[in-house]
Structures are given as structure tokens and as C-alpha cells.
């Protein structure tokens, strides 16, 4: 089923591109004057008519097969009601309808004749065909990956620009090859009509290739985003294949550009032979680009790399985090390699501009860049595993961290030490999981190590003993542990523009009311998380109850968490003064277990979480007791922050 879809889509895309290119070249060439050129025009027109019908037919097959895929049953493809539902009640179907409407109009326009002897009529006829074909082609972008991922119209516009460029350049190659061949078959010199067209196309093609490159890179940044996505997913592989095909195609194009002066110069020998050779090169280029269109069609039915789970293919990878491990002396080396690389690129630029001694300049440029890489890259090389860049399916929330803590205590603490920051360390051979190498590893790497073990360090594998979810829970716990053991301490004062400690998400269950998540407050209110216990917190809770109004107006929500799950928690806080902020009555143990990593012990503690979801200040009653004035001052400091930090991700990395 998918193969049929891919075939139909590929044929449809190719047909639309070829029709657009055909009319572009016809317009570029202008009304033909000699009979040989008129014959060429007729052949291109006749081919265009067939191609529009092919586009329509393959488009219908695409719709019908897609209906079957949407409904999940193959027989839906032949049911009119199902197809109509897919066509009219979905956005992609609507885009399909508009595009095929345009193609039908184009087909009708092409199949009916018309007197095009005057220049105005000729331009109107060819121009209209080009406009209809180009619109039908670029509207494909309306139901592309870029449209699905992004809310802003720019990725859509860039995608449409890419399609237009493809139509103009790729689609224009076959008629151009045909033109050069027809113009030079029976004459010693190719018709000037053809030579002029080739020169115009060459100029347009240069601009078009640059536009294609720019728009392609922009779309790749949106859909692929990272090197891991490029080399580790099907979508990325297809993009690499596209680029691989592009190289010989561009080389052929460059060769053609070099041959161009030979077509028309007065001293040139055998210009017709040159024209025929150029036609051959262009035909080869066209064949390569059509294969590339097939790959592009395949990319539209593949999950974009940013949403897939990349599988890293090699045993090493580069990691910028590793820079933090490098001692100061080597840091100096880092600086020098940048200088060397900079010099190298400067030399390269000079080499392109210079006329003499090019080889020497380019050679020394490469030596400098290579030298810079040799110094600068090795510290960044770390081990790589297939899951190094996998995205955890489990989000960073208190329940997962608490579960991870329990699993750690049962399976890992015997070698790696007890799971609280600031306590007893691990046995001699096992790594201290609070410290540098572990915090530097990616979540996917940790997953691999836990699943398969590290035989050379005598760590057993846990893939058979722990479920996948449990392993990810442990990783969430390790991240929380690492954050809590970070030498940068969060104190009782908010440090402006320094937000790094992500607050784990949790469910705020308040009696039988609909529960909220901590994450729901993002972008709206700050949260003062109060870990309290009665009777020692009673005075402070009364003060908070009285001050709640002022804090509320300043944009703070207070969330109180007693140590144990109990529906009586609200009543226990007392009636006077009335407590109006939420008190968590369910899931308390998980929340306390996770947040006590950041404030060890049992003392009353308060954590101020900013609007982006970062913990910015922590008070502990056995160190610096929180009081109304102190908390309010920090809240005001947060309110004064001009540039909010970027939103943290829901998953750890």
C-alpha cells in the first residue's frame, strides 16, 4: 500500500515539476521563428498535455490510496463516500482539491486550441499555462511537513519557494536538452534561438540553485535540526541521498556552464557538436534530478527527523559538553585551534580571489584547517551508542523520579552509593553518578549503559531485569540527582538571568477537583512550592494564608504539600486565618521524594519556581527561614527580569 502511495506521489510530483519547467523554458525561449524550432515547441506542448493528464491520474491514485490509509482498511479506496470525506473534510484533502482543480483548468486550457500567431496572444497562452502549473506545484507546500509543524507562515513560504525553484530548474532541463539537440541536428551552427535560450537559462539557473540551496537548508534546519537526525533516521538518510545525487548533477551543470561560450563564439570549431554534447549532459542531469524528485517524494511520507528516534550509527560522537571536562591548559589549545582555523578559511577566501599561486594558497589553507581540527576536535570525541540521541518517552516528572529512586535503591545503590546528594559515595570501582562523567552523558547513552551494562567496568546489564519505563525513570532520577549535586547552589536570593535548575513536573491534586499540572502555570504565574509539616510549620502557614492575597496579585500561586497523602490536610491547616491556596492531597510522597533532593532533610522548605519552570530560590527553615518580606522581595526581583529564560524541555537530554 505504501509502495503504491510512494509511486503515485513520485509520478505526480515529477509530472507537476516537468509541466512547470516546460512552460518556463517555452516562455524563456520566446515565440519560435524557424520551422525546426516550431516543431520543438509543438513536441514540448504535446508532452505537456500528456504530463498534465498523468499528473491528474497519479493525483487521483494518491488520494484514493491515502483514503485507504486514513480509514485503515484497503477497501475504503473504492468507496466514494470515504474518498469524499477524505477530500473535503480534511485540510490535506482540501489542498489536494484546489490543486487538482487548477490542473483540470490547465488541461482544458491546453487541450483547446487557440490562435497564437500574434506575440501578445502567444505570451498570454504560455504565461497562463505557466502560472496555473506553477500554482498547482507550489500549493503542495500547503500540506507538507513544514505546514504541520510550524504555526508561522514562513516555513510554508520557504517550502513553496523550494518547490518553485525545483519546477523552474529541474523541470526546465528536459525541454532544454531537446532544444539543443533539435537546434544542432542538421546544421553546422546551432540556431541562435537555442543559443540565446541556453544563455538565459544558465543565468536563471544560477539564481535558482542558490534559492534552492537556501530554502533547502532552512527547511532542513526545521525538520532535521541535528546531526543525529541526519545520520540516524530514515528521513535524514533520504536527505543525505538527495545531497549525494546533487553533487554529480551540479558538476554536470558546471561543465555545461564552461561549455557555453563555445556555442556562439566566432572562432569556435564545431559548435553543433558542442551543442549536442551539452544536450547529453543536460539529459543526464535531468535523469539524476528526477531520481532526486523520487527521494523528495519519499521524504514527504517519512516522519521528520526531529520527531523520530535517531539511531546513532558510529561508536564515537562529538559532544560540546565534553569541553567542560577539559583542563585549563587544553582550553588554551582550543583557542589556538580556532585561530588556526580562522586563518585557514581566510587563506581559502584569498585563494579564490587570487590569480597566481592558487595551488599553494589552497594547500596551506587546508593544512591550517586540518591542523586546527586535529588540535581542537579530540577532546570533543566521546563514546557513541545507538541510543545516544534517543528521546526519552517518559517526561521529567516527580512520579518518575520517585519511582527511579526506588529502583536505584534496589538495584544500583549497592555499587554506586546511597541516593542522596551529599552522602556516602560509591564503592571504589563504580562511578559516582552525581558527578561529571555521568552528568555529561546524554540520556540515551545512560539508557544504553543501563540496558546493556558496561562489562569492562563490571557493571551488569539490566535490560532483562528492568522494564523500559523503569530504566527511563532511573535516568530521570539521575538527572535530578545531578542537578541537586551541582556545585552551583540555589540560595535564598534570586540570581538575575541565571535560570538552570528545572522544576520537575507534578500533578496538583486538590481533593476531588480536576487536578492541574505544575506545567500548566508556565507562562502565567510563578509558583511558591511549600513543603510543610504540622505542627512546626503552623506559624509560617498562617503567615502565608494572610499574605496570599498580596502574593497572588504579584503573580505567585502558592502550592502547599504536606508530607503524606491525606484528604484531611486542608482541614488540618485550620480555619483561622482561612487558607485559600491549593493544598495537595494526593501523590504527596512522590512530590516530596523528588523535591527533597533539592532540600534534604525534614525541615520546612519553600522553593520559588519562575514562570518558565525553573527553581530560582530555596529557603529552608533550619538555615534561613522564609518570611514574608524575604519571599516577596525575591518575587519582585523575578518580576523585574527583562528577558525570560527559554522554556525547559519536557524530557531530559
Amino acid at each position: 500500500m505504501t509502495a503504491l502511495l510512494l509511486a503515485a506521489l513520485g509520478v505526480h510530483l515529477a509530472a507537476c515539476v516537468l509541466v512547470t519547467g516546460a512552460f518556463f523554458v517555452l516562455l524563456l525561449a520566446g515565440p519560435p521563428l524557424i520551422s525546426a524550432m516550431r516543431r520543438w515547441e509543438q513536441r514540448v506542448l504535446s508532452a505537456a498535455r500528456w504530463l498534465v493528464l498523468v499528473a491528474l491520474g497519479s493525483g487521483v491514485i494518491w488520494l484514493v490510496v491515502s483514503t485507504a490509509l486514513f480509514e485503515g482498511r484497503p477497501d475504503a479506496a473504492l468507496q466514494a463516500r470515504a474518498v469524499r470525506h477524505a477530500m473535503l473534510d480534511t485540510w490535506p484533502g482540501l489542498v489536494w482539491t484546489v490543486r487538482h482543480g487548477l490542473l483540470i483548468v490547465l488541461a482544458a486550457f491546453l487541450l483547446t486550441g487557440g490562435d497564437v500567431s500574434t506575440r501578445r496572444n502567444w505570451i498570454a497562452a504560455r504565461g497562463e499555462a505557466f502560472v496555473l502549473a506553477a500554482l498547482a506545484l507550489i500549493l503542495l507546500g500547503g500540506s507538507s511537513h513544514a505546514a504541520a509543524i510550524s504555526e508561522s507562515p514562513w516555513p510554508l513560504a520557504i517550502d513553496m519557494l523550494h518547490l518553485l525553484g525545483a519546477g523552474i530548474w529541474v523541470g526546465g532541463l528536459p525541454p532544454l536538452a531537446l532544444l539543443l539537440y533539435a537546434a544542432s541536428r542538421h546544421a553546422a551552427t546551432p540556431a541562435p534561438y537555442a543559443v540565446r535560450t541556453m544563455q538565459r537559462f544558465s543565468r536563471v539557473a544560477l539564481v535558482t540553485v542558490l534559492v534552492l540551496a537556501g530554502s533547502g537548508i532552512a527547511t532542513a534546519l526545521l525538520l532535521v535540526e541535528s546531526v543525529a537526525g541526519l545520520v540516524g533516521t530514515a528521513h535524514g538518510h533520504l536527505l543525505l541521498a538527495k545531497l549525494a545525487i546533487l553533487v554529480p548533477a551540479l558538476l554536470l551543470a558546471a561543465a555545461n556552464r564552461a561549455l557555453l561560450p563555445a556555442l556562439s563564439g566566432p572562432n569556435e570549431a564545431k559548435p553543433s557538436a558542442t551543442a549536442r554534447r551539452m544536450a547529453l549532459f543536460i539529459a543526464l542531469e535531468a535523469a539524476l534530478m528526477l531520481a532526486l524528485l523520487g527521494l523528495a517524494a519519499a521524504m514527504t511520507v517519512t516522519t521528520p527527523a526531529t520527531h523520530g528516534d535517531p539511531v546513532w550509527p558510529w561508536s564515537v560522537r562529538l559532544s560540546l559538553d565534553a569541553l567542560l571536562d577539559v583542563p585549563v591548559i587544553q582550553n588554551l589549545g582550543q583557542g589556538s585551534e580556532l585561530v588556526l582555523a580562522g586563518l585557514g578559511f581566510a587563506l581559502l577566501a584569498i585563494a579564490f580571489l587570487a590569480r597566481r599561486r592558487r595551488a599553494l594558497l589552497i594547500g596551506s589553507a587546508f593544512v591550517l584547517v586540518a591542523g586546527g581540527a586535529a588540535i581542537g576536535l579530540p577532546p570533543l570525541i566521546v563514546e557513541g551508542y545507538p541510543t545516544s540521541y534517543a528521546r526519552p518517552p517518559v517526561t521529567y516528572h516527580a512520579g518518575s523520579i520517585a519511582e527511579g529512586m526506588a529502583v536505584y535503591e534496589a538495584h544500583c545503590a549497592s555499587c554506586h552509593g546511597t541516593p542522596t546528594p551529599g552522602r556516602e559515595g560509591p564503592s571504589a570501582s563504580a562511578a559516582d553518578l552525581r558527578a561529571r562523567p555521568t552528568t555529561r552523558r546524554s540520556a540515551g547513552e545512560l539508557f544504553w549503559l543501563i540496558t546493556h551494562g558496561a562489562p569492562e567496568r563490571r557493571m551488569p546489564e539490566f535490560g532483562s531485569r528492568l522494564g523500559e519505563a523503569q530504566r527511563w525513570d532511573v535516568i530521570n532520577f539521575l538527572r535530578a540527582l545531578g542537578a541537586a549535586s551541582d556545585p552551583r547552589r540555589i540560595g535564598t536570593e534570586v540570581e538575575p538571568d541565571r535560570a538552570w535548575l528545572v522544576a520537575p513536573d507534578f500533578t496538583i491534586s486538590f481533593g476531588p477537583l480536576t487536578p492541574r499540572m505544575l506545567r500548566d502555570y508556565r507562562g502565567q504565574r510563578m509558583v511558591l512550592l511549600v513543603l510543610y509539616d504540622l505542627p512546626q510549620s503552623r506559624t509560617r502557614m498562617a503567615e502565608l494564608a494572610r499574605r496570599y492575597g498580596a502574593l497572588s496579585v504579584l503573580g505567585v500561586e502558592v502550592v502547599a504539600v504536606p508530607p503524606r497523602t491525606s484528604p484531611k490536610a486542608i482541614a488540618e491547616l485550620g480555619a483561622s486565618p482561612p487558607v485559600l491556596f491549593p493544598v495537595v492531597t494526593d501523590g504527596n510522597e512522590d512530590i516530596v521524594a523528588a523535591y527533597r533532593l533539592f532540600t534534604p532533610g525534614n525541615a520546612h522548605a519553600e522553593l520559588l519556581i519562575d514562570r518558565q519552570g525553573y527553581i530560582r530560590a530555596i529557603w529552608r527553615s533550619d538555615q534561613t527561614a522564609p518570611d514574608a518580606i524575604a519571599v516577596q522581595a525575591q518575587v519582585e526581583r523575578l518580576n523585574e527580569e527583562k528577558a525570560p529564560p527559554p522554556l525547559p524541555d519536557d524530557h531530559v537530554h
Partner: protein
Amino acid sequence: MTRWLALSLASSVLSAGVALGHSGLQRAEPPVDSTLKRPPTEVKLYFTERLEPAYSTVRVEDGQGARVDRDDSRVDRSSPLLMRVTLPPLAPGTYTVIWRVLSVDWHITEGRFTFRVE
């Protein structure tokens, strides 16, 4: 080079179309593979691509495979990335959330995850 091209094309064709597992789902409430003390009243799924209401559904099944949700799955009006379905009060046990959604780029994704109610 040809072999590598063929292999990548083959793998892309095989993995094209329906993608199973976690792709597409950004996060969920109740969270994936979580344990809850109180049964949830609603399941919310946040996706990475804009959804097409006409062909997007969610259902929740209990341990025996019987359907337990209220059959009112819908794409949220204010956010095309969010899908929700409401639940009646659930007994303790393990429940499976099964989703099948169409995004506006012709792409059907399906997947499932479980959560437990104690």
C-alpha cells in the same frame, strides 16, 4: 554507493507511512507509564504536529481489552496539537491508551502507552 542508496530507499519505504511507538506524541496526561493513586477524569495527548479532527481518535482500554472511555475523543478547539477524551471513574488496574491520529501533512501515526491506577 548504489547499494547504500538502495538500502536507504528500502528502509525509508519500509518505515514510511505508519509509524509506531512514540513518534508524534510529545507528552501525555496522565504521563506515559505512570502510576496514579486517583483515577484521572480525562486523558490529554499533546502531539508534535497539527492534527486533523476528521481522522484522529483515542480510546482507552482496561486490562481485559474492554473499552472504558466515554467515546468523545476530540481535537481541542483552541489547540490543534491537543487531543482529549473523558473517562468515567476507573477501578484500580492497568489501562492502555491507544491513539491513531492524522496530521495535516497526510501522515497517520498510531501508538499506545499504559498507566496504572492504584
